[in-house]
Symmetry: C2
Subunit: 467 residues, 2 copies
């Protein structure tokens, strides 16, 4: 077959698949447009190429870094190269934390180098490091129960997590230990904090992430260690031996740095003042390439914009892409966006921030009837298994829009392997499959177009207090 | 249930399972002994505890290291503590290679730190390291085809392998590149050699292993890099950019060091001069804990000896455990054993050197009828799925015994995850499951006992030239 014949036959296949989906309120015109967008994404998608530039050529992108500055410039230029009518950046001052040199080692009863990454925002240790006995707990509750034993020690939070975001057994179950653990430990006199990495693979690979020091308490040096070291400390303690660790962190926080949100609009033809926002975050941690987190989200959003623009179709409402800065350690990009644009009419905001694996559907937090409306649209995506709708949705960067009652959504990816790589040196492009990215683009393009095009909009939420 | 009741009920269950196995030549007495040994291994096995000492308390054990010396002393003492009647060590001079500091980095067209481990035996670079353009090949054949492009460059062997030992797609397919690749590259003027790690997981984890320099060719610095770096170099080269790497290795080879094979005999009651040898190797690479490779094999062998000794039964022939030194980078232990003991009558030699995952059976290289005999014995192990017999067997350390026609066997473990961890910092105790080790002990104990006890012995091989 020639390339054109292949393209036509694939488009026909896509159209047939879409035609077999349940109909509900879908019109023939809608399905035709959806087929066109999805077909374009699947056959000729450029998301992986965009992601390849962002990861291989620019690299990781922590707030304050040269990488993030380059990413701001390159993505704005790329939107322009793709012909998006309105592209601009908005200044945001962001935290500027630098890792420095770091090392940790079990020094008694045996010697063992710990693979570690300081938690983002951690203070450093004094020159020469600290050495202290380790007390191991598996939860904030257990820390509290054993608070009298903490003084002068390094607290190790040691909980193995399961794959996924689950609040009881998954990533969500351990995040509070990482975020507030350092200050909780400091409150009882700890001199340092370690946490078993919030990851689901065991390859001596530490996973970083942010902490939040509580005002009025000593800031203690805090780091994530790979599972092997956590398991070894557990076994040594279980055998009755006191365990001592030496740790030296060179981390420090510099004055805030200038960064930018990158924004691109395809203005609406009838209701340009009504906005469907799609976004991801441009910053990453300072390890690996930030491929899954969240280079993939940015590439998906950029490619949706390119495809819609390239189609020549003009949506009824404005479609706006926002690549937020500083999601990882401050959320300053999301907050700044709300301050500048919260008064505008956002009819929906969709974030993609759970990696580049195959899409499974959407999450949605909207007023009554919102889930049903999204389910009806998403039913067109059954042919790529991206039609499952969860009745909660949103994302960190768009969460400040809650105060305005904006319907919040997220593009959901399969998360079975996400926490194998999340926030590590191994979050690299080789983990991302081109076809999976294309499927995400197809799903988000169809959803975005219909939310921007249909007469009806998602029912709004009750406006909620900010966090 | 009390502990005793539990023990009895489990033993009964084991006996029932064994009783349902096909009978062939098995006698009731044999099955009773097998049930007793297997039951003891499964209910009260201490292999994991032995391995825990070897890994957590002693650590990795490269030839020439303090760790290996400690392991020799401790395992000999442990055999004595377990009451093995004859325990001794035999001096072996081994290579003494040390890693030193090492680092490598892509310096053009982008910058990227490569995770690497020098190959065992590699020379170091000059102080300050070397910087050169990279040429990528996927095989020794392709290196030959492109030999005119090699001069002055660093050769990267970049082949992804599948799980298992397979000679076409698995570990076996890439080992030749690692072993002879450095000299093949040097022959055509390469200044350095890199190889994509012979591993099956992608977690920025380099896998070391030995190389063998060819006489008369320049020795060039050689290292394994993690998959992420190999993939990145591949992508950069595919885009048409020359790729330059800087590498600095502090590796060097010191004068040979003194080490020991550790040997323990349970003398035979009727034919003490006939020997069933069971063995593993005590040395490991200088990373991780050498848990799968081959702490597990040593622990399994030691525990088989303890169980048989504890049973109070005296085997017809001598059962001999050998913990070989220097398998990883020299095979001096295996060669020395053959020199000293090759003239003795070994009726079988069984090695365990493929990790501590669940057993799947045995491999056997013996004269005609040997496989059938082992299949018949192994049928008793169907209740733990350890009854599959491959028609080739042996192990590196026992391979020198081929010249004497000794029937060679190996205990086979499931190898699906073995090359995720093999020769890495992540080959640690947390990867080894206590019950899996116990099953291996059960399988090896039953096999060893029956080979030592039965009137008939395995048909011998034709004596073969040594390698």
């Amino acid at each position: 077959m020639t390339k054109t014949m292949k393209t036509i036959s694939t488009l026909l296949a896509v159209a047939c698949l879409l035609a077999t989906a349940p109909l509900f309120a879908q019109t023939d015109a809608e399905r035709e447009v959806a087929a066109r967008l999805a077909g374009g994404a699947l056959i000729d998608g450029k998301a992986w190429d965009k992601l390849a530039y962002l990861t291989d050529r620019i690299g990781h992108r922590l707030s304050g870094s040269e990488g993030l500055a380059k990413a701001v410039t390159w993505t704005a230029e790329e939107f322009k190269r793709d012909g998006i009518p309105k592209v601009w950046t908005e200044e945001v001052m962001v935290p500027h934390w630098v890792r420095g040199k770091e090392a940790a080692r079990i020094v008694a009863p045996v010697e063992w180098d710990l693979a570690l990454l300081a938690l983002g925002g951690s203070v450093g240790t004094p020159e020469g490091g600290i050495t202290a006995e380790v007390i191991e707990v598996d939860s904030l509750e257990q820390l509290n129960e054993r608070k009298d034993e903490v003084k002068g020690k390094i607290v190790l939070f040691n909980k193995a997590i399961e794959a996924g975001f689950d609040a009881k057994y998954g990533y969500g179950s351990a995040v509070p230990m990482r975020v507030v653990g350092p200050s909780r430990a400091a409150r009882h006199g700890a001199v340092g904090m370690l946490i078993r990495s919030l990851g689901t693979a065991d390859f001596r690979l530490p996973h970083t992430g942010t902490l939040r020091y509580e005002d009025g308490l000593p800031k203690i040096p805090s780091a994530a260690i790979a599972s092997e070291g956590a398991e070894l400390i557990h076994r040594l303690l279980a055998s009755g031996d006191p365990v001592k660790v030496h740790m030296e962190l060179g981390a420090k926080t510099l004055p805030d740095a200038l960064s930018h949100n990158v924004i691109a609009d395809i203005p609406g033809r009838e209701k340009p003042e009504e906005i469907v926002l799609i976004g991801g975050h441009l910053d990453s941690w300072d390890v690996g390439q930030g491929a899954h987190d969240d280079g993939a989200g940015c590439a998906i959003v950029m490619e949706v914009m390119r495809l819609i623009q390239k189609s020549g179709m003009k949506p009824r409402r404005t479609i706006r892409a926002v690549l937020f800065t500083n999601e990882e350690n401050g959320l300053r990009g999301g907050r700044d966006y709300e301050k500048r644009h919260g008064h505008e009419t956002h009819v929906a905001a969709i974030e993609s921030d759970s990696g580049g694996a195959e899409p499974v559907g959407f999450g949605v937090s909207a007023g009554e009837g919102g889930v049903a409306m999204i389910e009806e649209i998403a039913s067109m995506l059954e042919f790529i298994d991206a039609h499952r709708v969860a009745s909660r949705g949103g994302g960190a960067d768009i969460s400040p829009l809650r105060v305005h009652g904006v319907p919040l959504m997220n593009l959901r990816q399969q998360s079975f392997n996400y926490f194998d790589y999340h926030h590590t040196e191994a979050d690299t492009l080789d983990k991302i499959n081109r076809q999976n990215l294309n499927k995400n683009v197809a799903a988000l393009a169809v959803m975005t177009w219909l939310l921007a095009e249909r007469e009806e909009t998602l029912p709004r939420n009750e406006p909620q207090e900010g966090d």
